[in-house]
Symmetry: C2
Subunit: 283 residues, 2 copies
């Protein structure tokens, strides 16, 4: 039996456990500080049993799927305990901090800094499902720092999940992901907040909000426990993206104020080319 330890049994860790469990030659041990989540993971058949951190010592694979602020410490604790053949990877949405933290660890070669780009607005073990990762992208940072054999093993595992893996340096990863993921979450949360403030009578929102609002505000359902640490850990890039977003909103507002309809039209028309990009994502 191949022993797989999954630390953090939320949407991502839980879905990974469920997916890897389909291969019956694996035994999945779950770890979660939240005992309700641990119990749910057992009840839902996401893991075979619940273990302690020391259980990683004879594991074949250890997956770290805790909130990003906890990843660096957990990564060090895990690397301290594992044997020479164990593959350890994290799935966090920010990569510079963890890479930096473990860079001089004697077991750095056992670690893969990964970011499988998949998720929904739901969280916890109950949100986990097989197929979350299917046809999605996975990013791996600093592949040259992982033992080639273990890197290969990690890549095979992501392929098993039907993911396409690309390599990227942590600095680049954190910069790009701020724009295409973290900023979307903030724009959505703030849209939700603005509407809730102006519309204390929720019946009006029910009545008048259509599918457009639903789509733009969907991410405002996301878990603060997962996302607050992401914004904090990727602070510099998130702030920069937010600044540019706010500047664009200010400019657009000014054009409306001055009744510069042509300018408003031009900006929207130029932005329409996002169509081609979205077609690419959907494919």
């Amino acid at each position: 039996m191949e022993k797989v330890v999954v630390i953090g049994l939320g949407l991502i860790g839980g879905s990974m456990a469920l997916s890897l469990k389909q291969n019956h030659s694996r035994k999945i041990i779950g770890i979660d500080l939240n005992s309700d989540h641990a119990q749910q993971a057992i009840n839902l058949g996401i893991v075979d049993k619940i273990g302690e951190l020391t259980t990683v010592s004879d594991a074949a694979i250890v997956i770290i799927a805790v909130p990003v602020d906890a990843i660096p410490d957990v990564a060090v604790a895990v690397l301290d305990l594992i044997g020479t053949e164990t593959l350890v990877f994290d799935v966090g949405s920010v990569k510079e901090r963890v890479c930096d933290r473990i860079k001089d660890h004697p077991k750095r070669g056992n670690f893969v800094a990964a970011h499988p780009i998949a998720g929904t607005e739901y969280s916890g073990p109950e949100a986990a499902f097989i197929g979350l990762f299917k046809k999605k992208r996975n990013m791996i940072c600093e592949p040259e720092k992982t033992h080639p054999k273990l890197l290969e093993k990690a890549c095979a595992l992501f392929e098993e999940l039907e993911m396409k893996t690309e390599m990227m340096c942590p600095l680049e990863h954190d910069k790009h992901i701020a724009y295409v993921s973290h900023l979307s979450h903030i724009s959505s949360f703030m849209l939700g907040k603005t509407v809730l403030e102006i519309e204390p009578n929720e019946a009006t929102i029910f009545a008048m909000a259509g599918s457009g609002f639903e789509s733009t505000v969907r991410l405002a359902k996301s878990s603060p426990a997962m996302w607050a640490p992401i914004f904090m850990q990727n602070k510099t890039n998130v702030l920069k993206s937010l600044e540019e977003y706010i500047r664009n909103l200010e400019t657009f507002k000014k054009h409306i104020e001055n009744h510069e309809k042509k300018e408003v039209f031009r900006i929207m028309e130029e932005t329409n080319r996002i169509k081609n990009i979205l077609n690419g994502i959907s494919k």
Copy 2:
């Protein structure tokens, strides 16, 4: 045969024509300034034939589905031409301007100021489909100014489209819709613009953008020809909503800057109650 004239054969007018055409006792005449759209509407079987504005004179129903900046003039032109029994309604997303423009027209009683809240990010006759309005809301403003018999006829027609109609005064309508619809479109367009500016290499966006980005930026595919006039015509409310949105973004940014994680968490957690509202919309 009941003669129905649809002015403006885009997503909304086209879908309305298609839906009403299912009743074969109707003859649908289409009008569109854009001759390509008119030809497409014929080719796609959206309308039975293309006509001139004068054709409204003996119509039973006239639907005004042109961009909102053109609605007031078209409404007056149509009311000038129709007979005493004709029902005229518009479908625009801003209601104050058109209501104000026709308030003293001798045929005001023939007019219904409607806003069927339905749409997609696509536009033109090719985007039209039967079922766009199904299970969606329709708002009617100033119902007391329409002849009761014609108001009843309009309500029956929206019921035929499987819409639920609610009444609301134009000022209230324009205020609420700015928050739950117009602001979503601006937040989405500016998100798209910000990402396109920072990521001139579109391959990176393809690679790293997930379903979250796709959802929040979807509305940035919308038609500038439809939306620029909406922002302009609902200027006061749109500016107010934008101002509050920007203020919320600035405050959130400040909390991240100052590393006030608890505050960031709290704001997100409070905003999570949008879940209940979205469940209401989806039902």
